[in-house]
């Protein structure tokens, strides 16, 4: 039951995040499942062509993201080097995974608020 509740919370978080991102001027939000992108949320700024991929991950009762989480993220970064990837984790992130994410230039937000993610997206769009 705990896992179901956690899943509901995460779904709610993603819905709220979509709502807040939708308020940003001049961006399009696309939500998974979008087979072509393989991410949970994709923020696109059509004028500049900038793309921000938001990966939302949870490890459930395991408590921390498995280090192998780096595998799909590395593939995502390699497939489109012009796309900025942001990791939103609902579980803790180990030091090793955190180091590898930094190497890939992927900001990770652990148990963030919706506002923190929106701020990070705005930062990435302005870069």
């Amino acid at each position: 039951m705990a896992s179901t509740n956690t899943y509901d919370k995460e779904s709610l978080f993603v819905s709220q995040l979509m709502e807040q991102l939708g308020k940003l001027h001049g961006v399009e939000i696309r939500k998974a499942p979008v087979a072509d992108y393989g991410v949970d949320l994709l923020v696109v700024e059509p004028n500049s062509g900038k793309r921000i991929a938001i990966e939302c991950k949870s490890a459930g009762d395991y408590g921390e993201l498995p280090i192998s989480t780096i595998l799909p993220i590395a593939r995502l970064v390699k497939n489109d080097p012009n796309q900025q990837v942001i990791l939103v984790s609902f579980s803790s992130v180990s030091d090793l995974l955190s180091t590898k994410l930094k190497e890939l230039n992927v900001p990770s937000l652990t148990k963030p608020t919706v506002k923190q993610v929106v701020d990070q997206v705005q930062l990435a769009l302005s870069a």
Binding site: S3, S58, G60, Y62, P66, I67
Partner: protein
């Protein structure tokens, strides 16, 4: 789809752990890393791991020490077969914890996870404590709620003249017998649990 499990070591001495892996699994880290999915991404280095072992169909890699948890990455050749990965993960877990026991390295808090896109699977070992907790939770209705409900219902039925005392006492007797049956059933399950549970060394996975 990959798996990972971890156990907390009471005293984590990296040198002793690596030595144990070398002794029990030959520790062919270089070839194991070369076979793993990590090899292709280039982001993880062989130096991020301290031990490895592979067969034709599967492999495990042990991450370098981080805190007091021994973390093991498990990968199978067939990336689509979840049951195969579960079985492989359990087999490696059994072998590695047996190795730790033989080396008298105390471990606790075993946990496992399988990374599926958008749906993490978490595994836990069903210990005696968890088994007993589960039984009591399952039987809660029969043991506590139904008997209390029956007594209350009989009392209210008499109070509102729906049943006379004789009929109500018959219902109460039935409720007492059902409750006794439930308690005897619980006792048997507890005894089975105490005797048999806890010997299995495997993860049970839940979504």
């Amino acid at each position: 789809m990959e798996g990972e499990f971890k156990v907390q070591l009471k005293t984590y001495d990296s040198e002793t752990v690596v030595k144990a892996f070398t002794e029990y699994f030959s520790n062919n880290l270089t070839t194991t890393f070369a076979k793993s999915a990590y090899q292709y991404t280039g982001i993880m280095k062989q130096s991020d791991f301290c031990a490895g072992y592979h067969t034709r169909d599967s492999l495990f890699l042990v991450y370098n020490r981080e805190g007091t948890f021994l973390k093991v990455y498990v990968e199978t050749l067939n990336q689509q077969d979840l049951n195969n990965l579960k079985n492989t993960l359990n087999e490696y877990f059994k072998n590695i914890t047996e190795m730790l026991d033989r080396k008298r390295i105390k471990w606790s808090k075993p946990q496992a996870t399988i990374r599926l896109e958008n749906c993490p699977l978490t595994g836990f070992v069903k210990t005696k404590k968890l088994y007993l907790k589960g039984i009591i939770e399952d039987q809660r209705e029969k043991l506590f709620i139904v008997p209390i409900g029956s007594v209350l219902a009989s009392f209210l039925a008499i109070h509102w003249n729906i049943l006379d005392k004789d009929e109500a006492s018959k219902d109460l007797k039935k409720a007492v017998i059902s409750t006794l049956e439930a308690y005897i059933g619980l006792l048997i399950l507890l005894l089975i649990g105490l005797i048999f549970v806890g010997n299995k060394r495997e993860f049970t996975f839940k979504i």
